[in-house]
Amino acid sequence: MPASLQHEALMLAQPVSDDPRGFSLRQSLLLAAPAVLCLLAFFVVPLSTLVEQSLTSPRLGLQNYVRALGSDLYLLILWRTIRLAAIVTVLALLLGYPVALTMSRVSGRVAGLLAICVLIPLWTAVLVRAYAWIVILQRQGLVNEALLGLGVIREPLRMLYTEGAVILATTHVLLPFMILSIFSVLRTIPPDLDRAAANLGASAFATFRHVTLPLSLPGIYSGVLMVFILALGFYITPALLGGPETLLMATLIGQQTTETLDWGLAGALSVTLLVITLLLVGLFGRVLRLEGKG
């Protein structure tokens, strides 16, 4: 799923060119065959099973969808999930954009160093990062000890197993996706454009607003899309750093699958999440196309 989303995002960011020197249709199909087979085996087949389960378990009908969408609890969790994904996306954008901008502006060695700083968390297991956050946020963790030591607080704050912890850690995990997708667009913007804008009388802020920002929109769109969708389906981090009050869709689906064994409902919830995700992808694609024309 992340890989295909990434691909989708890249497609959105850079329309594929029609290269006349490219492969013939037959060659292309042949080249695509392994990927298509993998998609069929690992994506299409399980997905159809999922849809089938949601419509037939325990008996044929839409009862699972009625339960999924008719329950105020599931709607609450769905809303909570979308809200959290949106907050994480906005945070990742606000935190990631300056980093991407810096990476695209500094010289080679510093940019490399920054890139490594961005990539190392990406290469670290999500689990490890979640435990690192536990160490930082727990009652006798780094943050509380520091605040207590400075006399800012007298009682340790409860930070772990809260929505704030989930937002923080999820943003941390997904930040590199935002940074890299914005950076990949920013670095294609010729530095001369900044100079030209300055020379033409634009302040640093005006240059950013009128030149850099509009030109980096494709990167923002793909980063926002990727982070939002990944956040919608986030599982491990919320499970480890959140409490029951931060139960999200993915965890709920997992619960229905492994605990209450209600596969029909799990299927219906999954399909609901999938449909919402696809709707958002479509919406973004549309916005992007309009933007491209404008």
């Binding site: 804008a197 300055a198 020379n199 009388g201 634009a202 509009p214």
Partner: protein, 403 residues
């Protein structure tokens, strides 16, 4: 063939002469240009007033590299100055320092009587055309040209009018709605130019603006920019590594090497009176021959070459010992019989036809053959490799430098 005629330098500079005759026609002292604009409001008059630029002792180093090593230069209002030099000579750094993208470690930049040394680029009000145009790809041509006006708080309607006028000036009426990607390289170049002049800056900086164009277009644009500069009366500082471009376009050329200003002057003066071997070699083609000074008589010096020949050229005062003579291929006269006075006997090595002129390579017992350029009409018909030839040049056409 009855032997080569000694040829005058004016003839060899034919292309340059042509260019000058075409471009030196109008120099408007008041620099008032009438640009046609919206009919409703009548013709729009743009008052352009070229500003003087002076750089005083600019120093800038990157690590141990001295990009600018104490450069001082004055550019008069309305003058077209070419900064010429090989890559790494500091010419681009100098331009960027004037534009404000580089801060000098030492020295001052004065534009139009105003010390702008500490000013940010956006506070300097200078026009600039970048090597790759630097048009904003997400804005159409009109918005690109209107951008500097927008930054100056000029209202939309006025921006439109002035952008159209600027487009007309560069010959791109009706292209306002196009995106830069929909334009050819030459058209983009013109838009960049229009954008750089629309807010009527006193000085226009150009950073190798023609290097991305193909040869034909490049040559056309040279003349067009030159024409526009004269028409607008704007001061232009133009960076190039192309000596021909500098010769064709500039009123004055400043040659830079290793962060230093080596020589400045009119194109012709530089070509004919290079101050040192570097300028002689960089500006146009030349033959360098090493030897030993034998005597100085006023401005003329005599040098004995390693093949025993004694030849003369203009020499700086007090030049003795090892020296080097520079003589341009087209200043050398070829004789099939030994002429009166000093001459150098050589053997014909190769004759290469190159269109209007023909290149003659002559073996003189030196490290390298001597390169001579004669009019093709005066080519050495019937002469075979190995045949003897005699070379002469006017003492005034050759330059002697310390080796």
């Amino acid at each position: 063939m009855g032997g080569g005629e000694p040829r005058g330098s004016a003839r060899s500079l034919e292309p340059l002469a042509c260019a000058l005759s075409e471009t030196a026609w109008t120099f408007l002292p008041n620099r008032t240009v009438v640009m046609s604009g919206s009919e409703k409001n009548g013709p729009r008059t743009v008052m352009l007033r070229g500003g003087a630029v002076s750089v005083e002792g600019a120093k800038r180093h990157f690590g141990s590299v001295k990009a600018l090593d104490g450069v001082s230069i004055e550019v008069a209002a309305g003058e077209f100055l070419a900064l010429l030099g090989p890559s790494g000579s500091g010419k681009t750094t100098l331009l960027m320092t004037i534009a404000g993208f580089e801060m000098p470690d030492e020295g001052r930049i004065i534009v139009d009587g105003r010390d702008v040394t500490g000013f940010a680029p956006n506070a300097r009000n200078l026009g600039m055309v970048f090597q790759r145009y630097a048009l904003f790809p997400h804005m159409n041509v009109r918005d690109n040209i209107g951008f500097p006006l927008r930054m100056r708080g000029i209202a939309e309607g006025e921006r439109r009018k002035r952008a159209e006028a600027a487009l007309e000036t560069v010959g791109l009426e009706g292209y306002g709605d196009r995106l830069p990607a929909q334009l050819s390289g030459g058209q983009q170049q013109r838009v960049a130019l229009a954008r750089a002049i629309v807010y009527e800056p006193p000085v226009l900086l150009m950073d190798e603006p023609l290097s991305a164009l193909d040869k034909n277009l490049r040559e056309r644009m040279r003349l067009e920019i030159k024409r526009l500069q004269k028409q607008l009366g704007i001061t232009v500082i133009f960076v190039t590594h192309d000596q021909e471009e500098a010769l064709v376009m500039a009123d004055r050329i400043a040659v830079m090497d290793q962060g230093k200003l080596v020589q400045e002057g009119g194109p012709r003066a530089l070509y004919e009176r290079p101050a040192n071997a570097f300028v002689a070699g960089f500006l146009g083609e030349t033959n360098f021959i090493d030897g030993t000074m034998e005597g100085l008589e006023g401005e003329a010096g005599m040098i004995r070459l390693s093949n025993g020949a004694r030849v003369s050229g203009r020499a700086p005062a007090g030049l003795t010992g090892r020296a080097r003579i520079s003589v341009r291929p087209e200043y050398i006269a070829v004789h099939t019989r030994k002429p009166e006075g000093f001459s150098m006997e050589v053997r014909l090595q190769e004759v290469i036809f190159a269109g209007a002129s023909t290149i003659v390579l002559a073996e003189a017992g030196l490290a390298e053959p001597i390169n001579i350029r004669v009019a093709s009409s005066a080519a050495l018909d019937g002469r075979l490799p190995g045949d003897p030839l005699w070379l002469t040049w006017r003492s005034d056409d050759a330059c002697l430098f310390a080796a």
